[in-house]
């Protein structure tokens, strides 16, 4: 797009760049606090147990120990959705659940004290997956939810929170279908987004009811809100954000660690830091939700969807903070990618005895789609259709719509993403490479190449409220008051850029407050892809409000109507007569011009990303290599080219594409212990195995804010995993339906090994793969079983 923006769309040095490359950027653990104590968490070795007794006398006697807290020491403070999760409870519900909190003068003493606490447990039977949790007579994770099913909906999305999708007449839809496929598919490898910085907080309690919390959160203002409720609406929280060492959505869920620090600070009267170790981060912090559907989809020969019916089973681990929200968003996101008149998609949120699942980039939609698209693939195969064409055809377009999280229907007023998809397909060479279902692109000895495609879109670009102030300085400067902690997207620098463009002053004339809830107005935080449109709009509105005020002031002084005035570089001037002007300095140094901006939620638009992948499978070893990725999107207007590219390249990190190839959290289903809670056994992509990646970015102006942009960063991980599943299936000529596609699973699909030879396999949820050994097609390839109700797979 041609435009004459001075700063928007241009690469400008990130505000924190020098701090990052010199080590001066301060993350939580880099800060120094006077008189600081260190908090540590004693964690349960059992997946499910009652705490019968705790003897903390030896721990308290250790020199340097300042407090030891158990459930008996604190009021009934609770978080979660519903609010039933006690900060400290007399029952533990997963390995790693909190038993006691210790504050001491050093970390080592705190750890030693934990070893001195004697706890007597009564071990209870546990449930580790959807099947065992829903089985008749299963042990209840919570007494109040005897069937292990959490109530649907979340209060923050309102009384009609989307709990499923019901629309039209599915029976009629199925009668109109030319092909119907049905089956059970899952994405249950619960990968960890795994930001490099783990999770922590420092709390400073001030009697009688105030606390200042500083932490690793990616949404500091929302912590103020969350903690207020957790502590029975009896505390006043000041929340300060730091430089954040990656979040990927997970650092929206810091309330437990923050609560530990707050309780210990209150108990000791001193600042307390709780920083969990990497092992705790991987074994006790939030994972992706486990996702499984049993569903039926109807499609016409031309790829038109006629009906979607089924149940989405969501395994949230031992509690939910955002899972019902993820279910609402994920359901809406499925409607965005699968426009269909007839729906009956229910869902069930199941609790199990492992650490919690929660907000992670993709936020429900990635997890649902990774299970749904394999079902859709069977329909497309049966109808003999090219998946690129079907995905393009069914993605929401102007004239379409969807239900969104508050339960309301929204007519889509965004753009047609088909152009971006076509451009992506062209860049990838999709038309030339597509040979049909279960057909490789190329075979070279044992090496077989296959291609796949996936798509995702999210209407969260305009979710939730944001507020900002912009204050003008008399010397031609400005200050942005905004509660955003920089967590890697570079958005803080982008807000500076947006204000620079509105006020026409250089970015280096603009300052930004720290993310401090005492200083800034409300901000939901940069979660989802809301940073560009939602937060950006608040900042732009604040800058425009400030600009309006200084133009009105100048209008009085210059005797000119404000609409005839403009401003640049700290000078207000009459349009066409720059000699008639007033410097901002004329406002005086004893006056404040403060603009206020707010963004109210708008669910009428979504973003979109289509990912094309090519894999090479070694059929001797079963190893899958990601060879090439093309991501195609349309963002309306690029704000910052390198920042956008970084976000799109993020597609295979943070539990994205690689969750289809090698990333998984392996839970031992006998003990409930996670067996790969370290960065050696949990696999991640290295520099040595980088695929070729191309990002196709179109700029069709959106009716969003004055720069016509929307965010896309969050969704880059989401289209890829199911695309890889498709690509590997095509490469080897047999359906792969389990994530990740580790060598053992590939060899099993090829019929070269049996389950019995694979002891690790015990640890994973899975389904009997029908069609094993049916390379080249044929046979009943729909996986059957595994879902409650003993449903069978089949095709019409």
């Amino acid at each position: 797009m041609g435009n004459d923006y001075r700063y928007i769309g241009k690469a400008i040095k990130r505000r924190d760049a020098e701090g990052i490359v010199t080590g001066a950027a301060q993350y939580l653990d880099d800060l120094k606090f006077q008189n600081l104590l260190h908090g540590k968490v004693m964690r349960s070795p059992y997946a499910h147990a009652l705490i019968k007794s705790v003897d903390k006398s030896k721990a308290l006697a250790l020199p340097g120990v300042k407090a030891v807290l158990t459930w008996a020491d604190i009021p009934d403070y609770r978080g979660g959705t519903p609010r039933n999760v006690r900060i400290l409870d007399k029952k533990v519900r997963c390995v790693g659940d909190v038993v006691a909190l210790v504050a001491a003068t050093t970390e080592e003493i705190a750890e030693e004290a934990i070893a001195l606490i004697d706890v007597e447990y009564e071990v209870l039977p546990a449930v580790f997956d959807i099947d065992s949790a829903l089985a008749p007579g299963a042990p209840a994770v919570y007494d109040e939810f005897p069937d292990n099913i959490l109530p649907g909906g979340t209060i923050i999305y309102g009384p009609n929170c989307l709990k499923g999708v019901v629309r039209g007449d599915v029976e009629k839809g199925f009668t109109e279908a030319d092909v119907i496929t049905e089956g059970t598919f899952g994405y249950e490898n619960i990968p960890n987004a795994l930001p490099p910085e783990s999770v922590g907080a420092v709390a400073v309690w001030e009697e009688p009811d105030k606390v200042t919390i500083q932490g690793t959160s990616q949404a500091p203002y929302m912590d103020k809100v969350t903690l207020f409720h957790v502590f029975n609406r009896q505390i006043e929280v000041r929340s300060i954000g730091c430089q954040v060492g990656g979040g990927f959505g997970t650092k929206f869920t810091c309330w437990q660690v923050q609560s530990y620090a707050i309780l210990l600070s209150r108990a000791t009267g001193r600042p307390v830091k709780v920083m969990i170790s990497k092992e705790e981060h991987m074994a006790t912090f939030v994972l992706r939700v486990g996702s499984r559907i049993h569903a039926r989809v109807g499609m016409k020969k031309d790829g038109t969807l006629t009906a979607v019916q089924g149940t989405w089973y969501v395994d949230t681990g031992y509690y939910s903070f955002t899972t019902q929200a993820q279910v609402a968003i994920g359901s809406g996101e499925l409607m965005i990618m699968a426009q269909c008149p007839n729906w009956d998609l229910k869902n069930i949120v199941v609790v199990t005895n492992r650490n919690a699942s929660g907000a992670t980039r993709g936020f429900g939609g990635q997890e649902l789609k990774c299970a749904f698209i394999p079902l859709l693939c069977l329909a497309m195969e049966k109808a003999g259709l090219d998946p690129f064409e079907v995905l393009k055809k069914n993605f929401v377009k102007p004239g379409g719509g969807y239900y969104w999280r508050d339960g309301n229907w929204f007519d889509f007023r965004g753009i047609d993403f088909s152009k971006a998809m076509d451009k992506g397909a062209e860049t990838f060479g999709w038309k030339e490479k597509w040979k049909g279902w279960l057909k490789p692109v190329a075979v070279n000895g044992a090496k077989r190449r296959g291609i796949g495609v996936g798509v995702h879109g999210n209407a969260d670009i305009g979710e939730d409220a944001s507020e900002a102030y912009v204050q003008l300085g008399y010397n031609g400067t400005a200050t942005i008051f905004l509660c955003v902690a920089e967590h890697g997207t570079g958005q803080k620098s982008n807000y500076i850029k947006m204000v620079a463009e509105v006020l026409q002053i250089p970015p280096d004339r603009i300052s930004m407050t720290p993310a401090d809830s005492l200083v800034t107005p409300f901000e939901f935080g940069p979660v989802g892809s809301r940073g560009t449109y939602a937060i950006g709009s608040a900042v732009i509105n604040a800058a425009e409000d400030a600009r309006r005020q200084i133009l009105e002031m100048a209008a009085r002084k210059l005797g000119t109507p404000p609409e005839d005035l403009d401003t640049a570089d700290g000078v207000v001037f009459v349009k066409g007569h720059p000699e008639k002007h007033m410097k901002w300095r004329a406002m005086g140094n004893d006056r404040t011009i403060l603009g206020y901006g707010r963004f109210d939620p708008d669910f009428t638009m979504c973003n979109c990303m289509m990912s094309f992948v090519e894999v090479e499978v070694d059929t001797d070893t079963g190893k899958v290599d990601l060879v090439r990725v093309v991501n195609a999107t349309d963002v309306g207007q690029i704000i910052d080219p390198p920042g956008l590219e970084g976000q799109l390249n993020g597609c295979f990190g943070s539990a994205g594409i690689d969750s289809a190839i090698f990333e998984e959290t392996i839970l031992d289903h006998r003990t409930g212990h996670i067996v790969n809670a370290n960065m050696i056994d949990y696999k991640w992509r290295t520099f040595a195995e980088l695929p070729v990646i191309d990002n196709v970015v179109m700029e069709t102006p959106f009716p969003s804010h004055r720069f016509h942009a929307v965010g896309v960063g969050e969704i880059s991980t989401s289209p890829g995993p199911s695309a890889v599943l498709m690509a590997v299936s095509n490469a080897i000529g047999a359906w792969m339906h389990e994530y990740p596609m580790t060598p053992d699973r590939v060899l099993k699909a090829l019929g070269w090994v049996e389950d019995a030879h694979l002891p690790l396999y015990e640890g994973r949820p899975g389904y009997p793969l029908a069609g094993r050994g049916s390379a080249g097609g044929g046979g009943d390839r729909v996986p059957a079983g595994g879902c409650p109700g003993n449903c069978e797979g089949g095709t019409k």
Binding site: R14, I20, Q26, P196, K278, G490, G653, T686
Partner: protein, 178 residues
């Protein structure tokens, strides 16, 4: 989790030999003991750099030698400072991210400047380790091929996926004067 048995507060070490350590051209004589500013037998170099010397630019992520975030340069080689005990560092010379700027002019090292110019970071937590790993490589091999850079950096975890930007930044320095 590693269990580190804490010494009783204030106990003096039997071994009175100081640990002579040069960090960023400054010589430190660190005493053994458990008082603030002293080195205990279980202190890792990363701990000493961050907590004792206040050089928090060295980041700790996994703290078990898997992720490369804590990389520093010791006697010319990139090493994982979480896997080295400070008591083993007597006589060593260490460069951390804080020591990369030119001490006379205050200018950024060419790699630091390239990381800025190419926005070769997102959250930035892995960046000090990346820069120092690349720096050690370029010290040994001023003009590496891209595959050699990838190999050198293959122990550095980056979750945001800034790998491609990092490669551009490092290669821009590696290509100078080729």
């Amino acid at each position: 989790m590693a269990t580190r048995k804490a010494s009783k507060a204030g106990k003096r070490a039997a071994d009175a030999r100081p640990i002579d350590l040069t960090v960023n051209r400054q010589v430190y004589q660190l005493s053994r003991g458990s008082r603030p500013g002293e080195v205990e037998p279980f202190h890792t170099l990363s701990h000493t750099l961050r907590e004792t010397l206040g050089l928090t630019g060295t980041k700790i992520s996994c703290d078990e030698g898997a992720c490369g975030c804590c990389t520093v340069i010791m006697d010319g080689k990139a090493v994982l400072s979480c896997k080295i005990l400070t008591v083993e560092c007597g006589g060593k010379t260490v460069t951390t991210i804080e020591g990369l700027k030119d001490p006379k002019t205050g200018e950024f090292d060419a790699l630091q400047q390239a990381f800025i110019d190419y926005t070769a970071f997102q959250c930035g937590f892995c960046t000090p380790g990346m820069i120092l790993t690349a720096k050690a490589l370029l010290n040994e091999n001023p003009h590496p091929r891209e595959d050699e850079v990838k190999e050198a950096l293959s122990g550095n975890f980056c979750r945001c996926v800034s790998h491609y930007h990092v490669l551009r930044a490092v290669m821009s320095v590696a290509d100078k004067g080729r």
